[in-house]
């Protein structure tokens, strides 16, 4: 694999009594979209702000694009783009003017109109930032971070507070960054966001990484049992299902029937046995459902404080 864009070893940071980051190790590679997922106060922003050069650290080694962010240089700043937590725009400037202002700070900026298209604000190009919707303002934030044509982009909670449709639009835009070959580090407390956007996800809780993998594999999701659930008429004899799956539980859901839940590592085989059993006895399997553990289940389990 190529050289990591970001490499962190044993990162630590405390504020007075509070130990916000308790030893983080992480490597992020070129063109990766990497999500740091965790509840508020887990240490996400502290970690990212150390990488961005805003905060000092108490311990550990950090390299971002080959530079220690504790000693940022202008040349290094040319190569990174930052979207801070919370919108930071000059309300009196239009979309185009805002981008022109920041473009002037870089030696080799992207074309402003190209950036406007990238973030989907063509129709608002002449609108002042104060008049934009929350979602549009956030996209302008991302546009400003892109205007210097950075290799590495930091997005700190890019969609917090968005309604679902604004969030979808923002996701499409971030997914589009993949085509530009950018490395993206994003923090979020939305599991779905990490799942949709990221190549890899680190779940962080109380200043530590508690899981690190692709969204599909996170928390050993592959190796955790799927669950098959269905409802059969009250009083149905379940002895024929003995030995199906690893766990079997049932509860009586009143006169409507008996709810059965089977945990299994071989969902396909077991589903075949269950349906065969039902057909043989002429039993209707109502509300039949096969479900893998969701990222949410994993997340809640891992971050349970």
């Amino acid at each position: 694999m190529s050289e990591p864009v970001i490499s962190i070893r044993g990162l630590r940071k405390s504020y007075d009594e509070l130990e916000a980051v308790k030893g983080i190790d992480l490597e992020i590679f070129p063109e990766e979209i990497f999500a740091v997922l965790g509840p508020n106060g887990a240490g996400k922003t502290t970690t990212v702000e150390i990488l961005e050069g805003y905060r000092s650290r108490d311990g550990g080694e950090v390299s971002v694009l080959g530079v220690d962010p504790a000693r940022p240089t202008a040349a290094w700043r040319e190569r990174i783009g930052i979207v801070l937590q919370g919108t930071t725009l000059e309300p009196a400037l239009t979309v185009r003017e805002s981008l022109q202002q920041y473009a002037g700070y870089y030696r080799d900026p992207r074309d402003v109109d190209e950036v406007i298209t990238l973030v989907g604000l063509e129709e608002q190009a002449g609108t002042r930032a104060r008049k934009l919707s929350g979602g549009q303002q956030r996209r302008l934030d991302v546009g400003i971070a892109l205007v210097g044509d950075p290799d590495l982009l930091f997005l700190d909670e890019p969609t917090t507070g968005f309604d679902p449709s604004a969030r979808r639009q923002a996701w499409e835009m971030v997914a589009g960054l993949r085509d530009l070959g950018k490395t993206v580090l994003l923090t979020t407390h939305y599991m779905e966001e990490a799942q949709v956007l990221a190549d890899r996800v680190a779940i962080i809780s109380s200043g530590r990484i508690v899981a690190l993998d692709t969204p599909d594999n996170l928390g050993d999701r592959r190796r955790q049992p799927s669950s098959i659930t269905f409802t059969v008429p009250a009083g149905t004899d379940l002895t024929g299902l003995a030995g199906t799956g690893q766990t079997l539980s049932h509860s009586d859901a009143g006169p409507e029937g008996r709810k059965v839940e089977i945990g299994t590592h071989e969902a396909v085989t077991d589903l075949n046995r269950i349906t065969g059993w039902a057909i043989e006895r002429g039993i209707d399997l109502e509300q039949l459902e096969v479900r893998r553990p969701s990222l949410e289940d994993v997340y809640l389990e891992l971050t349970d404080a």
């Binding site: 805003y54 040349a75 801070l84 930071t88 400037l93 202002q101 002037g104 030696r107 210097g148």
Partner: protein, 256 residues
């Protein structure tokens, strides 16, 4: 060279933002003119015996110029830089390759240009409406007073951001400092109405000295080139103190 171009770039955007902000335009550009019209109407065209019989309106021209320059520099920077800090704009700027001094230079340059425009506007209004003479022969003194004063009061504005904790507090703290000094220094009330003890107290603060330097440069009774070096020195010392405070404690990240 590139850094100078960047400073010009930043200055142009500071100008745009200033003229598009109704509060800035009102308090910095319109209010001083309004004060001039009100004071001239109330106190009329009397002469001040204690000041070699200079006309009241002639007295008010340098007074309002002083007020306008302080509004464009100290008040403007204390408010707008604090707001930019609290909104995260300073922090965002620090995340770019832009040298920090350029960021400040654009705003300071804007404040000095606005000061110059206001000086010209107030002087012209004085000439056209109240027959206050334009001090052609003492223009170098006017210009030097403007440059030293505007620079010093910019530094004081940046220093004030250090003690202003939030955007809500910006206006209150700025006014609490400047308004009493305007009254004590003879900006609002002609100085012959102010007790000597009060004036000598006000002399320790730069508003009074800045005004005295402008008054000498503007007054038709002045003999000579009109430079008040003693007053300008005190203004400059205050400015340097402000600069030291700003360099030492200026914050780029939000405090609240």
């Amino acid at each position: 060279m590139r850094q100078l171009n960047l400073a010009m770039h930043e200055f142009r955007f500071a100008q745009k933002v200033f003229w598009r902000n109704p509060a800035s335009v009102f308090f910095t550009a319109l209010l001083p003119v309004l004060f001039l019209l009100i004071f001239a109407t109330i106190f009329g065209n009397d002469r001040i015996e204690e000041l070699d019989g200079v006309k009241v309106t002639t007295y008010y021209i340098p007074a309002i110029v002083t007020l306008a320059v302080i509004s464009a520099t100290t008040v403007n920077l204390a408010m707008n830089v604090t707001i930019a800090r609290e909104e995260g704009l300073l922090k965002r700027g620090r995340g770019t390759p832009l040298p920090p001094w350029v960021f400040i230079a654009g705003r300071v340059g804007n404040a000095i240009v606005i000061s110059t425009i206001m000086l010209i506007v107030v002087t012209l209004i004085g000439r056209l409406l109240y027959d206050a003479p334009i001090p052609w022969s003492r223009l170098p003194a006017v210009a030097v007073t403007l440059v030293i004063g505007a620079s010093a009061f910019c530094c004081l504005g940046l220093a004030m951001t250090v003690i202003i904790p939030s955007r809500e507090a910006a206006s209150a703290i700025t006014n609490a400092i400047t308004l009493p000094l305007y009254f004590l220094s003879g900006i609002f009330i002609p100085e012959n109405e102010i007790p000597d003890g009060v004036l000598s107290f006000a002399n320790h603060f730069p508003v009074r000295d800045f005004f005295e330097a402008f008054f000498t440069a503007y007054s038709p009774k002045t003999v000579g080139s009109g430079f008040e070096w003693g007053d300008l020195l005190l203004v400059a010392v205050w400015g340097l103190a402000g600069l030291v405070v700003a360099l030492r404690w200026f914050r780029w990240t939000p405090r609240s």
